[in-house]
Symmetry: none
Subunit: 413 residues, 2 copies
Amino acid sequence: MKAMLIVADGMADRPIKELGWKTPLEVARKSSMDFIAESGVCGIMDIVSPGIPPGSDTGNMALLGYDPYRYYTGRGALEALGWGLEVREGDVCFRCNFATVDDDLTVLDRRAGRISNDDASKLAESLQKVKLSDSSVKFLFQNTIQHRAALVLRGPKLSASVSNSDPKKVGEKVLEVKPLNNTAEASFTAKIVNELLQKFHRILKNHKVNHERVKRGLPPANIILCRGAGNIPNLPTLSEIYNINATCIAVTSIIRGVCKVAGMRLTTVEGATGTPQTDYLAKAKAAVEALKGDNHFVFLHVKAPDVTSHDGDFQQKIKVIENIDSMIAYIIDHVDMSETYIAITADHTTSCVTRNHEGDPVPIAITGPFVRKDDVKRYDERSCSKGGLGRIRGVDLMPMLMNFIGKVEKFGA
Amino acid sequence: MKAMLIVADGMADRPIKELGWKTPLEVARKSSMDFIAESGVCGIMDIVSPGIPPGSDTGNMALLGYDPYRYYTGRGALEALGWGLEVREGDVCFRCNFATVDDDLTVLDRRAGRISNDDASKLAESLQKVKLSDSSVKFLFQNTIQHRAALVLRGPKLSASVSNSDPKKVGEKVLEVKPLNNTAEASFTAKIVNELLQKFHRILKNHKVNHERVKRGLPPANIILCRGAGNIPNLPTLSEIYNINATCIAVTSIIRGVCKVAGMRLTTVEGATGTPQTDYLAKAKAAVEALKGDNHFVFLHVKAPDVTSHDGDFQQKIKVIENIDSMIAYIIDHVDMSETYIAITADHTTSCVTRNHEGDPVPIAITGPFVRKDDVKRYDERSCSKGGLGRIRGVDLMPMLMNFIGKVEKFGA
């Protein structure tokens, strides 16, 4: 027996007036998701806790069975790991943006005009050459996609308890990084980060790439904003807990980071982009391949519905849902359903109206040989609320799936 | 007001192909269980946590309201207590088997041909005479039913943090008992247990009972295998928590042990055997008697459905369910339903397909004068999932029942 968990990022939604007070899932044509619901057992699921909007990191940690209230240590380390940076125990990691500020350090553009990978690479190369005043600290700075970058600090006296330099709003000033507790380590780390960001700023202001950008009418990437300081979380791996091989198929770096700390294999799929234009079929093929190999568990994550939700584009969200449904159709057609459990869910609700992650529960459906099939015929928020699973928590899903494939040990005698 | 909790061990199941993808509960004729469901309020219940298969010990602890993650200390002490052995705080108890090994200590039969009580008694009598090298340690060794036995170690320097000698598989060698932590107590205990088991082996090898067994073509019970080291758990009794008198009607030793540490009275019912051939009517009569006396709460446990499930015999499981239903019919007819709450449930799902305890939820139905009767008309896994209780946890059942009979104090002012 094997199991696959398909997570459509932010696919759950609230009723939308323009859709006759239906949700995108309720409107989309999605016969494969409905097949999973109709042949399976359904319910609704609070990813972390009722009313609490999960992040991508905490949400997917919970879906892999790790209580984020116990294990979550911030976004920085997960994202750096997900980008393939080497992160060690004790390293302090930040998520960074290339951004544009004026001479007063007021933020004009938090993404430096969504700077190209090319320009960002050249700038990052120069930044990596900065020397810090304290030689006990090493750093790694790497651009990833467009304006996104990761910063890893390594040294014996560091702490992740420091604040952000990113004010998170255009029109506000860049913030000084401050210690968040009274330890010498936090003070020292804040000092180091401030020094580093100032040196970065000095280099970027005068960099020829930025001079050229200004000539081309583009905003200069003249500052690095950082946020989400964190260490690597200390998790027991899925292999340690369940004695399984597990593979992650995801593009989004933070999701890859979560899967990496869970000890999963990371697959890279050509054509998978994390956008609504991702190659859905390629992901489906990769998932089927992974399941046919020596994996007991495949985690398949699709970012696209969250992107459309943050844009408030519910028509596009419906199309993306229908594309995911085609992806699932391929999977159902190509795995042996007599020995496979497939679950479909979302890692959180993202509302096309508020354009934010929301704390409403998500629908969950599990099909497989020995589930207690219920009466639910459609996979959506309200249909699944009538299902045989009732209302469960995100951290409970993984033990349920692993129990179906015989990988949970009895507690007691 | 009084309450009775009827627990049918392992009665819940998964859908079975040969039953048209129904469960034994869905197929069985069981008008009395259905009466409880129809006149009562129903739900599904995760005995310990979704997806986690409970043991008999942890499952019934949870059903009596004790969180096993907090209170469970291993099988040994519960089983020894259940057999009526005197167990004191600090004693280290083991569940033991009479077994058969070859000269290399490879296990040939983990149950010594399911040795008779008679033979086992004679052997146990000899084993109790062994002298340990360290006089600070006393031990009690007692055979129970067939190959089963209990060992209790008593002394000032003992620890339950030691491993098993039982390899749990035929064809594997007997294991050396090892300390599971770095304390002097764990090392000392491991040493003592190894010494004791070696001395047992020497006596058993040359025992005339075994010579006679070999002559009769029976496997000699030439070794004692031990597992599940544990101390007595430290629980507040039901009487301390709810100010009630409570009685347990159960045959299985480990269940009796759980009820004993909960401070319950233990009833012995003539004809009750823990097998599918148990005297169901005798149990019913004992339960009614107990409820008519000064008990506020009666816990009635029937082992039989679990036995048939471990055998994979779903037809026999259906018959056992129908027998339990007759038992319940007698109870309903003979107690005053205007002042009695009756709950029916299982302590875990046991699948006739996997033949194991599984982590799927169990159905629960509670009838009584003032429950919020719902629409559910049948007592089974899927019908109850639509009930008014929703999905609850095992540890929540006891406070609910005790609240119905007015025995839970207000929390707060």
